[in-house]
């Protein structure tokens, strides 16, 4: 039992040391990491949003062409 408790204590000590060391980052490094994450998220969502907008607009342009040759699609519905 004592041996098991020692093992647990070693584990906890190791884990705690890892956690503490993980939080011991310098402020510039933390800022850089946060900005990098912000840039990554912003870029990803921006690319996805641009792609979605382009797709919608492309379909709209197609509809515009179809409308220009189909008189039935020009007539406003009552």
């Amino acid at each position: 039992m004592r041996e098991a408790a020692n093992v647990d204590a070693t584990w906890l000590t190791w884990l705690r040391s890892r956690l503490i060391s993980a939080t011991r980052v310098s402020v510039p490094r933390l800022a850089l990491a946060a900005i990098a994450v912000g840039l990554l998220i912003g870029t990803t969502t921006g690319v996805v949003e641009a792609s979605r907008w382009n797709s919608t607009t492309w379909n709209r342009l197609e509809a515009k062409y179809v409308q220009s040759i189909d008189p039935y699609q020009r007539i406003p519905s009552s």
């Binding site: 912000g38 840039l39 921006g46 641009a50 907008w53 197609e62 040759i69 007539i75």
Partner: protein, 173 residues
């Protein structure tokens, strides 16, 4: 067991300073994210934004979608210009025929020769318009490369010629 904040207790407001730094970092990260988002959407949509602002945006779509050469595009543009007037006229004919049928339906309480004639006129105009439209579509497709023409006809068939149910639709008995 002393915490880091106690170790730097020489500073007047260590916790306030830490909080300020954390908030500043958070704001910087959010600003960077918004900046990246705006740049990506602005430059990523710049091309199509300029196209959609064009007066002939539909034709520009046609040009890009079917990879038309300058010569092909000019010929199709000429066809489109010639067809536009005809299309406007057909549009007017459709509206007139529909209005006449609408008035005849409102005036009568049974199917009279007047209603029959109005319905025949609507059908005639519809048929004329579809034939004219199909002829224009064939003319346009003739200006394209074989593969593009095939693709163009396929799209137009779906969007214009068969706007209702597709031919493969199962009909209930």
């Amino acid at each position: 067991m002393s915490s880091p904040s106690i170790l730097i207790s020489g500073s007047p407001h260590p916790k306030t300073r830490s909080l300020f730094v954390a908030v500043a970092i958070l704001f910087a990260a959010i600003a960077a994210g918004f900046g990246a988002f705006w740049l990506c959407t602005f430059f990523g949509t710049a091309d199509l934004r300029s196209v959609s602002a064009d007066r002939d945006a539909g034709l520009v779509w046609l040009r890009r979608e079917f990879h038309l050469t300058d010569a092909q595009f000019q010929r199709i543009q000429a066809l489109q210009t010639a067809y536009a007037g005809k299309c406007d006229l057909m549009c007017q004919q459709i509206m007139n025929a529909n209005a006449a049928l609408d008035a005849a339906i409102s005036r009568n309480r049974r199917v009279t020769p007047e209603i029959q004639q109005a319905m025949s006129e609507v059908t005639r105009v519809q048929q004329e318009c579809q034939q004219s439209m199909l002829a224009h579509i064939y003319e346009v497709s003739e200006q394209m490369n074989p593969n593009s023409a095939e693709q163009y006809l396929q799209i137009m068939k779906q969007r214009i010629i068969q706007p209702g149910l597709p031919s493969t639709t199962a009909v209930s008995r």
